[in-house]
C-alpha cells in the first residue's frame, strides 16, 4: 500500500506536467505563449509576498537565536512532564510551526542522539509529519494576495497544531509502548 502511494508521489509531477501540456496541444492552445504569459504573473506574486516573509523570518530568527525560545520551552516543561511526554521532543514541537528547516534539523538531531526507532525518534517523526510550518503557510498565502486581516486563522491553526501534537504523542504511546 505504502509502495503504491510512494510511486504515485514520484510520478505525480511529471505526469501532471506532461498531461497539462498535452491536453493544451490537443485543444489547439498556443501552449508556449500561454505558459510564458502565466509565468510572468508568477514573478509579481513572489515580489508581493517577499515583504511578509521578511517580517516573519526576521522575528522568528530573533526569537530563536536570542534564547527566548529556550525560555518558553523551559516554562512548558512542567506541563509535559505532567503527561509524561519526553522533554527532548519539546523544542521540536515548538519549532515546528515556526521554521521548516529548523524543525527538520532538530528531528535529525534527535534521530542521531536516540535513534529513529527509539520512542523519542518515533515521537519526533510523528510530530514532524503531522503538522506544517504554520507561520510560513499563513505568511506566504495571505501575503501573496495582499490580505491584511487574517481573522481567526492564526488562532485556529495554532490550536490545531496543539491538537496534532497531543494526537501524535497519544498514538505513538499507544502503538509503540
Amino acid at each position: 500500500m505504502l509502495n503504491i502511494l510512494t510511486q504515485i508521489s514520484r510520478w505525480a509531477i511529471p505526469v501532471m506536467f506532461f498531461g497539462i501540456v498535452f491536453v493544451g496541444l490537443i485543444k489547439k492552445i498556443a501552449v508556449y505563449e500561454a505558459f510564458v504569459s502565466g509565468a510572468k504573473n508568477g514573478f509579481y506574486t513572489t515580489a508581493r509576498l517577499a515583504p511578509n516573509l521578511l517580517a516573519m523570518l526576521v522575528a522568528i530568527q530573533i526569537f530563536r537565536v536570542s534564547g527566548a525560545l529556550e525560555i518558553v520551552i523551559g516554562m512548558l516543561r512542567p506541563i509535559t512532564s505532567l503527561f509524561r511526554i519526553p522533554e527532548e521532543v519539546l523544542p521540536l514541537a515548538l519549532m515546528r510551526p515556526l521554521s521548516g528547516s529548523g524543525s527538520l534539523g532538530l528531528m535529525v538531531q534527535l534521530f542521531e542522539e536516540y535513534g529513529p526507532d527509539s520512542l523519542i525518534g518515533r515521537l519526533a517523526s510523528a510530530i514532524m509529519g503531522s503538522s506544517e510550518t504554520t507561520f510560513y503557510v499563513l505568511t506566504v498565502y495571505t501575503g501573496a494576495v495582499g490580505i491584511k486581516r487574517t481573522r481567526h486563522c492564526l488562532a485556529a491553526s495554532l490550536i490545531s497544531d496543539l491538537v496534532g501534537f497531543a494526537a501524535a504523542v497519544f498514538i505513538v504511546f499507544t502503538v509503540f509502548m
Binding site: L5, A34, E112, A144, A166
Partner: protein, 192 residues
C-alpha cells in the same frame, strides 16, 4: 493577533538577549533572517512562475473546468461560496492533492495559485474570505499522508522500519485537520 505575536517574538528576543549579555545575536539574527528571505523567495519565484504558467495552459485548454468538476463533491462542502465551475475549484484540487501526496515544492506554488483565484471571488479584498480561511487552515494543519522526507531521513539514520510511522502520522494529521475544520466553522462567525 499577528501584530501581537510579531511583537512578542521581537520583544522577548531583544529582552532575553539584553539580559543574558548576548545583544549581538539580535543583529546577526536580522541579517540571517533577511538572507533567508531572499534564499526562500528566489527558490519560490521560479516554481511559482512555473506553476502559474502551467495553470495558464490548463485554464485555456479547459482542463481546469474539468478538474473543478472532479472537485465538486468535496468542494461543495468545503468551499460553498465558490461557484462549481470556477477555476478556483480546479486550483484547490491540485493544491490539496499536492499536499496529500507530500509533493513538497509544488504545494506552495499551487496553494498560492488557489489563493489568487479565491481572491478574485473575495468581496472584501483586505480580509480573508470564508473559503480562504478554510483552505489556509487545511494546509497549515497538514494534509500529508505520504511523509516522503521523514521516511527518507529515518532510513538514512539506519531505522529498521522507516515507514512504521506512517500510520501514526496519518492518525495525528487527521486529528489536527478535523480540529482545524471544526474551529474554522465555530470561530469564523466571531471574526468577520
Amino acid at each position: 493577533m499577528v501584530n501581537y505575536i510579531w511583537f512578542f517574538m521581537i520583544a522577548s528576543g531583544v529582552i532575553t538577549a539584553a539580559l543574558t549579555g548576548r545583544i549581538d545575536t539580535i543583529t546577526d539574527a536580522i541579517v540571517k533572517g533577511a538572507e533567508q528571505t531572499i534564499t526562500i523567495a528566489i527558490g519560490l519565484a521560479g516554481l511559482i512562475a512555473f506553476w502559474s504558467g502551467m495553470m495558464q495552459i490548463a485554464e485555456e485548454s479547459g482542463l481546469m473546468k474539468l478538474l473543478a468538476k472532479a472537485m465538486r463533491p468535496v468542494g461543495r462542502r468545503l468551499y460553498p461560496d465558490v461557484p462549481p465551475e470556477h477555476p478556483a475549484m480546479g486550483a484547490l484540487l491540485l493544491a490539496m492533492a499536492a499536499n496529500v501526496l507530500g509533493l513538497g515544492n509544488a504545494c506552495t506554488p499551487l496553494g498560492i495559485k488557489s489563493m489568487e483565484e479565491l481572491q478574485k471571488l473575495n468581496r472584501k479584498k483586505d480580509t480573508l474570505s470564508d473559503s480562504m480561511c478554510t483552505f489556509v487552515l487545511l494546509t497549515s494543519s497538514s494534509l500529508t499522508i505520504i511523509p516522503g522526507t521523514i521516511i527518507a531521513l529515518r532510513a538514512a539514520q539506519g531505522s529498521s522500519a522507516p515507514a512504521e510511522v506512517v500510520g501514526p502520522i496519518i492518525f495525528a494529521t487527521m486529528c489536527s485537520t478535523a480540529s482545524a475544520l471544526i474551529l474554522d466553522r465555530i470561530l469564523r462567525r466571531f471574526y468577520r
